[in-house]
C-alpha cells in the first residue's frame, strides 16, 4: 500500500490537461440523431489527430499503448475537462476493437482498427435477441454456410446506435439450435448489406438510441468470421481478459462533476440547510469517493495479476446503482421545476430517466449479482 506520484506522472498529467483544454468541444453533445453521430466522429477524429485515440490499444495497432497509471490519469483528466463520452464509439473502442486485436485475422485488423481510431467507423453490438437477453446463450439468429458466405436470418434487439453504425459485432447460431454456448459464431456484419433492416426503439428518456435489427437472408463473407466457426462464445468473452479496472473511471469522474454541480445548486438555493438534504448529499459524496477507490483497488489487482477477474463486477454494480441514486437526488432537488423538461437537453429529468439504463445495459444487476455470488464468493449454481 502506497501513493507515489512521480515527476513523470505529473508531467504527463499536465500534458493531458493542456491538450484537453485546447481541444475539448465547447458545445454539448447532441442527445441523438445524425448530428450526434457527426459530433462523435469529429471528436474521435480530433483525438486521433492529437495522438490520443485508443489510449489502451497497443501501438502496433495505432493505439497509444499507455500503462495503467497513465490510462487512469488520462481518464480522470478527460472527465475533469468535461470531455464528451465515447458516445456512439463505445462499442467500437471498448469491445469490437479489443476483440479484433485479440482474435481477428491480420486482414481484419488492418482494415478495421485504424478506421475506428480515425473516427471513420461506428460499431454496434448484435448480441441480445427478443428471446435471449440475460440468457444470451439461448440466442437463435441462424446463419447457414452457403459457399464462401454465411446467410443470416433472425433478429437482434437493444442495438444501440444501430441506425448510424457502419459495422456490427454479430453473434449467430451456426451449430444445432439448442447448442447453448457451442455452435455460436462471431462475425463482422456490414450494416449496409442488403437484407439488414433497423427499426428504432425510443427509450423512456425520450431519445432514439436503441433499435431492433432484422436479418432477411443477409449474406456475409466467411472472411468476416472472427475466430473459428462455432467458437463465437469464446471470442465474445475474450475482451473480459482485457479488463484492467480502468473501465469505470470516466463514468465516475463524470458523475463527480454532476454531483458537484448539484451540491453547488443546493448551497446556492439553501436546500443544503435541510439536514436530510445534507445527509443525503454527504452519503453520495462518500460513495463517489468509494467508487474511485474501488477502481484504484482493481487497478492494483490488475497490476499484480495481469488481469482483473470477476472481482471487477463488485465496483461495476456499486457504480451503476450509485449513478441512479445521484440522478434521483438531482431530480428530487429540482423541486417543482422538475415538472418542466428543457427540450433536447440533459436536464435533471433526462439524467434521472436515462439512469435506469445503468443497471440493465451490459448485464442486469441481477445477473451481475449471480456472477459475484458464484465467481467471487464461490457459492454454488442453482439446480
Amino acid at each position: 500500500m502506497k501513493i507515489e506520484i512521480t515527476t513523470e506522472e505529473r508531467l504527463f498529467r499536465q500534458e493531458v490537461r493542456d491538450w484537453l483544454s485546447d481541444n475539448v468541444p465547447s458545445e454539448p453533445r447532441p442527445l441523438d440523431g445524425p448530428e450526434a453521430a457527426e459530433f462523435d466522429r469529429d471528436w474521435q477524429r480530433r483525438q486521433h489527430e492529437g495522438g490520443w485515440a485508443g489510449i489502451a490499444w497497443p501501438k502496433e495497432h495505432g493505439g497509444r499503448g499507455l500503462g495503467l497509471t497513465q490510462q487512469m490519469i488520462w481518464l480522470e483528466e478527460y472527465g475533469r475537462a468535461g470531455a464528451p463520452s465515447q458516445g456512439y464509439f463505445f462499442v467500437a473502442l471498448a469491445h469490437a476493437g479489443p476483440t479484433l486485436i485479440a482474435r481477428g485475422t491480420d486482414a481484419q485488423k488492418a482494415f478495421h482498427l485504424r478506421r475506428i481510431l480515425r473516427g471513420e467507423s461506428i460499431w454496434c453490438q448484435g448480441f441480445s435477441e427478443p428471446g435471449a437477453g440475460s440468457d444470451l446463450a439461448g440466442l437463435s439468429t441462424r446463419a447457414q454456410i452457403e459457399g464462401d458466405h454465411l446467410v443470416v436470418n433472425g433478429s437482434k434487439i437493444w442495438t444501440s446506435y444501430g441506425h448510424v453504425a457502419d459495422y456490427q459485432e454479430l453473434l449467430v447460431r451456426t451449430g444445432p439450435p439448442a447448442g447453448r454456448h457451442q455452435g455460436i459464431t462471431w462475425v463482422i456484419c456490414d450494416m449496409k448489406t442488403p437484407g439488414v433492416e433497423v427499426r428504432p426503439i425510443r427509450n423512456m428518456a425520450g431519445i432514439h438510441e436503441l433499435n431492433q435489427t432484422f436479418y432477411d437472408n443477409v449474406r456475409i463473407p466467411l472472411s468476416n468470421v472472427v475466430g473459428q466457426i462455432d467458437d463465437g462464445w469464446r471470442v465474445a468473452m475474450a475482451t473480459l481478459g482485457f479488463e484492467r479496472g480502468t473501465g469505470l473511471i470516466a463514468f465516475q469522474v463524470e458523475m463527480a462533476q454532476r454531483l458537484e454541480h448539484l451540491a453547488e445548486t443546493a448551497r446556492a438555493d439553501g436546500a443544503v440547510r435541510d439536514s436530510l438534504v445534507a445527509d443525503r448529499l454527504a452519503t453520495l459524496q462518500a460513495e463517489l469517493r468509494a467508487v474511485r477507490s474501488m477502481s484504484l483497488l482493481n487497478i492494483s489487482r490488475a497490476e499484480r495479476n495481469g488481469t482483473l477477474g470477476a472481482e471487477g463486477t463488485l465496483a461495476a454494480v456499486y457504480l451503476s446503482e450509485l449513478e441512479k441514486r445521484v440522478a434521483r437526488f438531482g431530480f428530487d432537488l429540482a423541486g417543482p421545476s422538475r415538472l418542466e423538461r428543457e427540450p433536447r437537453a440533459r436536464d435533471a429529468a433526462f439524467e434521472y430517466f436515462d439512469s435506469f439504463n445503468r443497471t440493465l445495459a451490459g448485464g442486469t444487476s441481477e445477473i451481475r449479482r449471480n456472477i459475484i455470488g458464484e465467481r467471487v464468493l464461490g457459492l454454488p449454481r442453482g439446480k
Binding site: 500500500m1 502506497k2 501513493i3 507515489e4 512521480t6 506522472e9 497509471t69 451540491a263 448551497r267 443544503v272 445534507a278 445527509d279 448529499l281 454527504a282 452519503t283 459524496q285 462518500a286 460513495e287 469517493r289 468509494a290 467508487v291 474511485r292 477507490s293 474501488m294 484504484l296 483497488l297 487497478i299 492494483s300 489487482r301 497490476e303 499484480r304 472481482e311 463488485l314 465496483a315 454494480v317 456499486y318 441481477e366 451481475r368 449479482r369 449471480n370 459475484i372 455470488g373 458464484e374 467471487v376 464468493l377 464461490g378 457459492l379 454454488p380 449454481r381 442453482g382 439446480k383
Partner: protein, 312 residues
Amino acid sequence: MIDLIPDGDQQALLNSITSFLRDKAPVGKARTADLWEQIAALGWLGLSRPESAGGIGLGAAEEMLLMREGGRFLVTPSLMATLLAVRFADETGRADLATELAGGTRHAALAIPRDAETLYIIDGAQAELLVTIEEDRVTLRRAPSPGQALQSSDDGVQLSLAPIGEPLNGSADGLQARLLVAAQLTGIAEAVRDLATEFAKVREQFGQPIGAFQAVKHACADLAIRAEAALAQTSYAALCLAENLPDAPAEVAAAARVAGDAAVTGAEAAIQLHGAMGFTEECTAHLFLKRAHLLTLFAGRGSWQINALIAP
C-alpha cells in the same frame, strides 16, 4: 502510482496479526483485554512510534491494517484507544507516558460523553487514561475511580459510567481516530460477508445449499459489494492520511460513512441469512452487529462527516 494492496512487509505484518488473533482470540470465545501483555509484546501498541523511541516505525497504513483485523476479531476498543493515546502523548511532549502505554504497563480506554457531567467508559477496568474523540480532535483524560458498572448493549465489552474529569492539556488530530474506527468497521463488514457466505455454502434446504438460491446469493453479493467499498475507501483514506494530502479529511470521512454502512447493514443481513440460528446468542453474527453500532458512535456520523464531505 497508487497501490491499495499490502506489499510484502505489510502482508507479513497482516499475517502475523491474523494468526495471533485466530489462535488466541476467536470471536465470542476469548476477551482480548486478557491478552494485553502478549499484545504489547508483539509491538502492536507502538506500531507507529519511531524506532528511536522503541516503536516499530510504521504509519497510518499499517495501523489501518491492524485495526481492520481488530474489527474482524472484535478486539477490545481499548486497542484503538491505546494507539490514539500513544500518539497523543508523543504529539504533546509526553514521551514517557507514550512508552508506558506502548509497553502495556499503563492502560487507556475509549470513552464517550453521555451528558455534560458524565461519560461512558468502554472496557476500562484497568484504565488510567480515557480517550475521547470530539469532532476533529482526540482528547485524553485521567480515569476517575472505577465508576458505576452498567450492562452494555454490546455484550463483548464492559461498560461503566463516571464523572467527566478535566482533559489533559493539549489535543491530537482526530483524523487518525476516525480512520481507525473506519478500519474496524471494514473488518466487521468483511467478517460478516465471510460468515454469511460460508453458512450459505453448507446449510442445505430443499436438497441444496441455500447459497444456490438467488434470494440468498444476491444478499451475499450485497455483503461483498459493501465490504469491497469499505475496504477500498478505507485503504485509500489511510494512504491520504499517511501522505497528509489535502483531501485526507474528506477521504477519511467517506471511509467512516461507507464502512459504517457496510458493517451495520452487513451484520443485519448476516443475522437474517443464518435463519433462526442468526437470532440465537450462540451464532456470532449479533456480536458483529453490536460492535458495529458501538463503533459508529465514534465515526462522527453527524456534523463532522457532513462538514468534511460537503464543506461549503
